[in-house]
């Protein structure tokens, strides 16, 4: 018989790069905070749901009366919250969800539940590198001693632990392959807004020509997703950020890509950098040199 399932919402991150609490942000059109939406998802599948916070942290907005588990492990990061919960109830399996995954919905959660077996870890394979996605995953009772042992050795990255120990890996369907992309910075947030509705974010200045011819370059996994490294394109997009969002939303070849950086004419450029005919625009995924 399968052990009972508890839900754990991880909201103890410091949101350092975002500069404000990600759990309290409203990212979806229903006007609810990320924490509220994620709690509702967990409540739909779990007998009991808990909110993971670090010591001294205020409860994010929209969480109601959910029971709170404060980090009782000093290793930091999401592992501290996961270990605290599993020690609280070692007989249960835990459905763990981070509060900064706005694209995860009931369909994604039900796929995860359907794929669950007796493995210590059940997780989706990253659409990007095939490694397990640890922050929308099920941790069975057998995971606890494994996590304790890694934590004792100073290994605190659940993705690395899962990869090393072996997880039951599920594939995301093509239509949901970007479902586990997260939001880390104000730029990610701005991109997500445009990703959801690129047309609304691109008011065209009056009198401008309707399209500009732009030279595009792609690097790393973006080049692989796009299927090319260079191309010429005529676009009505007024800024580099809108151009990226349009390409991502329109044909789906590239994803929302947290941390994407832009260059215009071989200089770093912010998302609101205006485009002009003849520009060379380069899209860069997060760097991995060294």
């Amino acid at each position: 018989m399968k052990p009972p399932l508890r839900g754990l919402l991880l909201a103890g991150g410091r949101s350092t790069r975002m500069g404000r609490d990600k759990a309290s942000m409203i990212l979806r059109g229903n006007g609810q905070t990320q924490a509220a939406n994620a709690l509702r998802l967990l409540e739909g599948s779990c007998a009991e749901v808990f909110l993971s916070l670090r010591e001294g942290q205020e409860k994010p907005e929209g969480c109601g009366s959910v029971e709170i588990l404060r980090d009782a492990v000093s290793c930091g990061g999401p592992l501290a919250g996961i270990l605290t919960a599993m020690r609280h109830d070692p007989e249960s399996a835990w459905l763990v969800l981070a509060c900064d995954l706005p694209f995860v919905d009931a369909g994604v959660v039900s796929l995860l539940l359907a794929g669950r077996d007796d493995s210590p870890f059940t997780a989706f394979a990253s659409a990007f590198d095939g490694l397990p996605e640890p922050l929308c995953a099920i941790y069975g009772p057998a995971a606890l001693p494994i996590l304790e042992e890694h934590a004792a050795r100073g290994h605190v990255c659940p993705r690395h632990i899962m990869a090393e120990e072996g997880a039951r890996l599920l594939e995301l369907p093509a239509a949901a392959r970007h479902a586990l992309e997260n939001i880390n910075t104000p730029r990610d947030l701005e991109m997500m807004t445009r990703f959801s509705d690129p047309g609304a974010a691109a008011p065209e200045p009056a009198g401008e020509t309707p399209g500009r011819e732009i030279r595009l370059g792609w690097f790393g996994f973006l080049a692989e997703q796009r299927g090319r490294r260079e191309e010429m394109l005529v676009t009505p997009a007024g800024t580099v950020g809108v151009l990226f969002a349009e390409l991502a939303a329109r044909d789906g070849t590239v994803g929302f890509t947290p941390g994407v950086r832009f260059a215009v004419n071989d200089e770093f450029a912010p998302p609101d950098h205006p485009l002009k005919a003849g520009d060379k625009v380069v899209f860069m995924p997060p760097f991995s040199g060294g």
Partner: protein, 150 residues
Amino acid sequence: MNADFSISQHPLHVTPLREALSSPDCGGFVHFEGRVRNHHAGRAVTALRYEAYRELAEKEGALIVTEISRKHGVKAAAVHAVGDLRPGDLAVWVGAAAAHREAAFAACRELIDAIKDRVPVWKHETYADGKSSWIAGCDHAGSAGNPDHQ
């Protein structure tokens, strides 16, 4: 090509860089060699490819070398490899020379961290099972720091 920072086809030639940082007024010289590891997240790595956005990488790399040289009063240089590498090969080299060792150590550490953070270079790994993937930074390290990510 900038003299202080370059993107270079594998294999790297570091002797001229070392010699350029040699000076009678510098009593301390620290260098860091980043080499290709034969494992990543529990998978055996058999080959690795780096690609760079060369125009921007060399500009940003030169800016980093200039900033850190001024901050610590050191002479510094760095080079990052592109192309096909194997475990053990030299991927990145950073050196800093100063009158005294403290500044050289500090500058060398800051240089490699800034290069990893700011220079547009991407790593593509091939594994023993024949699969391969692009590498991106990992967000799951705790605030206490994480040996997996050093």
